[in-house]
Amino acid sequence: MTALAVTRLHLARRGTMLVTPLGLIAVAGAITILISVIVLRATGGAPGPDYDPRWNQAMAWTLPGFLVYLSVAAVATTFPLGMSLGSTRRSFVAGTQLAQLALAAYITAVMTLLLLAELATGHWFAGIHAFDVYTLGAGNPLVFAAIVFLGTLTLFSMGSLFGSAYVRYRALGPLCLSVGLGLLLALIALAIGPSLGPLFASFQLWWLAVAAGIVIVLAQAGTYALLRRAAVR
């Protein structure tokens, strides 16, 4: 089954795929601890009512850059090797999606375990909020897992889309894709502009999950559409 072989091709570099995310999480955690300790020392252990450690976004922003790099590289550099080894484009896309699902599940599992540990230890015995933060579900493990899993898959899918645009049309591909997506977002903002206030007022978190699902499906379909006729150079 060539799709599974492609999945193995992606996951072969265990250090990059499995260890690097842990390293990035550890670095973000260390910086969070350091800043928290500085704040606590600077305020004599009583930071005041304006200080809310749940607004810490370090963990939310530590992985996206790496995840997008991984998925762009997965297409831009791994696609030619996959083709050289006898994969079809369809199998390559399917194998890549499987690898991305596996990685998203791995990252979600690791981060959710760390959230549970943070909650169980009373925020690391010192009121330090690295995972129990507003942007990642405010301490709800189910919401947290859903945000991390769908967020990771969304980033992977967008990275794959840009990587495949590069494979198909070289530098012009990602450039045109960026401009096109920017225009699309601008048009959507213009169209729903008058309703933005009421929309924000009635905002539900599951809307984001649906939006992420739509983006993932469209980006993956776009990736296949771009690679389906792409020549290997």
């Binding site: 072989a5 072969a12 590289a73 550099t77 030619p80 083709m83 050289s84 020549a231």
Partner: protein, 320 residues
């Protein structure tokens, strides 16, 4: 040395790959334009099954484009490619049986030898781990350095490793000798010869080192400007041209009316390579000129030079 065309074990493995005796690779009226360049122009040729074929020609002749089409890396604008009886592009029935590692092959960042050895067997069920180990040792492929930091010769070694150990029924080598020292090239030729004798398969090699690889080749195709100049077995290719040496006037008289592939002058002496066979008595019986056979390398060089001319060159009146 010519490898036997029929080898034990070659029969019976390809019953699902078209009729017995069918070519391993068929290219029918294929054209491919890359930007403003017509890389292949109505190419019509075939490569025999379970034989080593050489794809020869000058840089830009269309060799890599042709190999890309055969490996399903690209599609022709017109015409049809068939590999083991199947169209290769997006065809799961045949693509897993083709292996083409390009001369500029890209590998994932941080990819190392151990990743190659771990991953390639998942794609090629005939992968021979012991052979791979021997190749790694013989070609001294570094295990710790990322492939992205390999020298040109080390990259070629990885391509040779994958191409040989995968034992794909259709194996394509794209200038596999680039950057290799003489010893490593010799090792590659010996390994290739030994392995295809044991495990016959259709091998296609693009090369400029024709003299070195000639003993391995059974069939040759010469491309120039995207067109096929020669498509024949090696023996026939060798007997396709002769070099005529002598005084300018005698040589001019001897080769009159024949297609001149290459012509050189030194003072009053002239050396002309023409399309002619050894049984061309009108030419070989002449006593006023010296006739010598042309090596495959010289023949390809001569075709390359002749192909640079706008019209097929006849010596009559020519003074190159």
């Amino acid at each position: 040395m010519t490898i036997p065309t029929t080898r034990s074990g070659a029969q019976g493995e390809h019953h699902q790959d078209g009729p017995a005796g069918a070519p391993g690779i068929e290219v029918r009226g294929v054209s491919r334009r890359l930007g403003r360049t017509l890389a292949l122009d109505e190419v019509e040729l075939s490569f025999p099954r379970d034989a080593v074929s050489g794809l020869l020609g000058r840089n830009g002749a269309g060799k890599t484009t042709l190999m890309s089409l055969i490996a399903g890396h690209d599609r022709p604008d017109a015409g049809e490619v068939r590999v083991l009886g199947h169209r290769p592009f997006e065809n799961a029935a045949v693509l897993p049986r083709i292996c083409l590692i390009r001369d500029n092959q890209r590998y994932p960042d941080d990819f190392r030898l151990k990743h190659v050895l771990r991953v390639v067997p998942a794609f090629h069920e005939r992968w021979d781990a012991q052979l791979a180990e021997r190749i790694v040792d013989a070609l001294r492929i570094p295990s710790r350095t990322p492939i992205a930091k390999f020298s040109r010769g080390q990259l070629s070694s990885v391509a040779i490793l994958i191409g040989l150990a995968a034992r794909a029924p259709v194996t394509i080598f794209d200038e596999p000798y680039l950057g290799l020292d003489a010893t490593a090239r010799r090792i590659f030729y010996d390994l290739l010869l030994a392995d295809i004798s044991e495990h016959p398969r259709t091998v296609l090699v693009s090369t400029h080192l024709i003299d070195e690889m000639e003993p391995l080749l059974e069939h040759v195709v010469v491309l120039d400007h995207g067109r096929v100049l020669l498509n024949t077995n090696v023996e026939a290719a060798r007997g396709r041209a002769l070099t005529v040496n002598g005084t300018a006037s005698a040589v001019e008289d001897a080769v009159r009316g024949r297609r001149v592939l290459r012509s050189q002058s030194l003072g009053g002496l002239r050396s002309v390579t023409v399309e002619a066979s050894a049984d061309d008595v009108a030419l070989t019986a002449r006593r006023d000129v010296e006739i010598s056979p042309v090596s495959l390398q010289d023949l390809v060089a001569a075709y390359g030079a002749a192909g640079a001319e706008p019209e097929p060159a006849l010596l009559e009146g020519a003074s190159r």
